[in-house]
């Protein structure tokens, strides 16, 4: 297996092994991920920033398949009632639609809204508070969190290694029937990395294809470029940083955001900037899902002045934008151009065949 080079069983010589392995990984990452997409989209993706993680398809396609089975299998949760897809539904941009706060087994309510899973190959930090710095071990959070799957890694591996289906999938993916932590997390990683959305109307316009913005969309795009793009940078439509947009903490669910990770006062109420891709489908919005509709979000940025916003919001967000009613509609029209139905309904990302 390709990643075997950085298994650290012997740790000899440990640091140099890391350097070599990381170089190998990074170099192998540079081109492989493009193979998953149509030729014209490959060219388009090459204009995007260099991804942090990558796929080496088709070589890794069996890993993607194993990861897809795991993603959709409730076997990961303690009572086998929920899977990753319970909170990350493909048809809603892999977000948790219609739940302000996502819930785990036994209807246990968490503290945040499950974010969309898209274009993770470009994402240096994960979770709303940026606490997770590498995609590999991100799934350990929902698997073990008492308010989510409430399971243990030991139990998950025991179940998978008892399953003939997973033994076969592991043999295909990793050449061994045994599933350990590395196979589990790498396969989930590869499936997650395959979730690339780059085929919205917005992308068609940017690619210079036959599509063009309508007058209203174009007006909205200009507003977006003036007010939103500094955080929601193109083409990912996020800069993947931690920022405060000035939204006050909920009294019943106080959440200090990145501060809880860094303990740095300047990170109070900062959350990771979410991508706007498929934004029309990923409701509700904000880290705590407080806004059910996109127009509520626009109204917040446009009209909501507060002492809290003045104190904590990023410089460009301290004052309301004061959009007119027409401008709000124009911006909304532009945001709808970010819907990528090729992604939302791509069977490669859906429930696997039994």
């Amino acid at each position: 297996m390709r990643w075997m080079s950085y298994h650290l069983v012997s740790i000899w010589p440990m640091k140099s092994s890391f350097v070599v392995s990381l170089l190998l990984i990074l170099s192998s990452c540079a081109v492989g991920w493009l193979h998953f997409h149509a030729p014209n989209q490959q060219t388009y993706l090459q204009t995007w920033p260099k991804p942090i993680y990558a796929l080496n398809l088709p070589a890794d396609s069996n890993l993607v398949e194993l990861g897809r089975h795991l993603f959709y299998d409730p076997i990961l949760s303690r009572d086998s009632s929920i899977s990753c897809s319970s909170c990350h539904l493909q048809y809603t941009g892999f977000a948790h639609v219609d739940h302000a706060l996502s819930h785990g087994i036994d209807s246990r309510i968490g503290a945040r809204n499950a974010p969309t899973l898209v274009n993770l190959a470009w994402m240096p930090i994960m979770h709303w508070d940026g606490g997770v710095k590498h995609i590999d071990l991100q799934p350990l959070n929902p698997i073990t969190h008492p308010l989510e799957m409430d399971n243990t890694l030991e139990e998950v591996l025991k179940r998978l290694n008892r399953s003939k289906k997973y033994q076969q999938l592991a043999r295909n993916a990793a050449g061994s029937v045994e599933i350990g932590s590395v196979v589990l997390f790498k396969s989930l990683r590869y499936f997650l990395l395959s979730l690339i959305s780059a085929d919205a109307k917005y992308d068609a316009v940017m690619r210079g294809l036959h599509e063009q913005f309508t007058e209203q969309e174009l007006s909205g795009y200009k507003l977006f470029k003036r007010h939103c793009v500094s955080c929601h940078q193109e083409p990912l439509l996020t800069d993947n940083t931690l920022r405060s947009n000035g939204i006050a903490p909920d009294q019943t669910n106080p959440d200090k955001g990145a501060y809880s990770i860094t303990l740095n006062a300047s990170d109070l109420y900062r959350f990771k900037v979410p991508t706007l891709r498929n934004i029309a489908f990923t409701f509700p919005y904000m880290h705590d899902g407080r806004y059910a509709k996109l127009k509520d979000v626009i109204n917040f940025y446009s009209d909501s002045a507060s002492a809290f916003r003045l104190q904590y919001a990023d410089l460009k967000l301290k004052q309301p934008f004061n959009f007119s009613a027409t401008e709000k509609k124009d911006l909304l029209a532009f945001l709808y151009t970010l819907t990528d139905k090729t992604f939302l309904f791509n069977p490669k990302f859906g429930y696997p065949q039994p």
Partner: protein, 216 residues
């Protein structure tokens, strides 16, 4: 092909061990002895404290890299009590905990397998030192304690490099936990399971507990 840096490391290591083999470099294997109040710590048994009261350690795991031997240990008293370090020319070089590179390298196996229970999922990174047990105070009140020390990002990084030197013929490397327990009980409380200033200070106190000592 290996990058030049790694070829250099491999060559230097080869030369280093060749010199040890030829006797040109004085090298000696010494044992790691984890103690409290002069007694080696064993799991699940009370150890009296000099100030009164006692402690019982039920879990003790930590990452320790022997730089001379170029070897990383996950010291785990549940699995093994016998760890050997290399003393070269009177010096032991150790790294307590994991460096930042390991913490951001994704899923790893061996001592870094998340199955070891030494990985914080919610705040990426390894627990560098884990100690759990019970403290019975002088009033016979029992206080369960859980200390998980970690953090790899400034200003709260808890990876420590230690250089221990002894001109005498030191027989073992001791990690004396007396002062550390005293610090934890009096300054921290009975639970510490997240990165931060308290973990940094606790790691500093812990580092001071390492010394080269003669057998008693």
């Amino acid at each position: 092909m290996l990058p030049q840096k790694d070829i250099d490391v491999a060559n230097y290591s080869f030369i280093f061990f060749l010199l040890i083999g030829l006797g040109a470099v004085q090298a000696q294997e010494i044992h790691l002895d984890i103690t409290c109040n002069g007694s080696s710590i064993g799991l699940h048994r009370p150890i009296p404290l000099s100030e009164g009261g006692s402690i019982q350690v039920d879990k003790l795991k930590f990452y320790l890299r022997d730089s001379h031997a170029n070897k990383m240990y996950l010291v785990d008293l549940e699995k093994d009590t016998n760890y050997t370090l290399l003393k070269v020319e009177g010096t032991v070089h150790l790294e307590l905990g994991t460096d930042s590179l390991i913490n951001v390298s994704g899923v790893l196996s061996g001592p870094f397998d998340p199955l070891e229970g030494m990985y914080w999922a919610w705040n990426s990174g390894y627990i560098n030192f884990k100690c759990e047990g019970k403290y019975t105070d002088t009033q016979a009140v029992v206080h369960p304690f859980s200390y998980h020390l970690g953090g790899y990002q400034d200003p709260f990084q808890t990876h420590r490099s230690l250089s221990l030197k002894s001109n005498a013929a030191a027989e073992h490397c001791e990690l004396a936990l007396d002062s550390w327990f005293l610090h934890m009980f009096s300054q921290v409380g009975f639970n510490l399971m997240s990165p931060g200033l308290a973990a940094v200070n606790a790691m500093d106190v812990l580092s001071l507990g390492f010394n080269l000592a003669h057998e008693k």
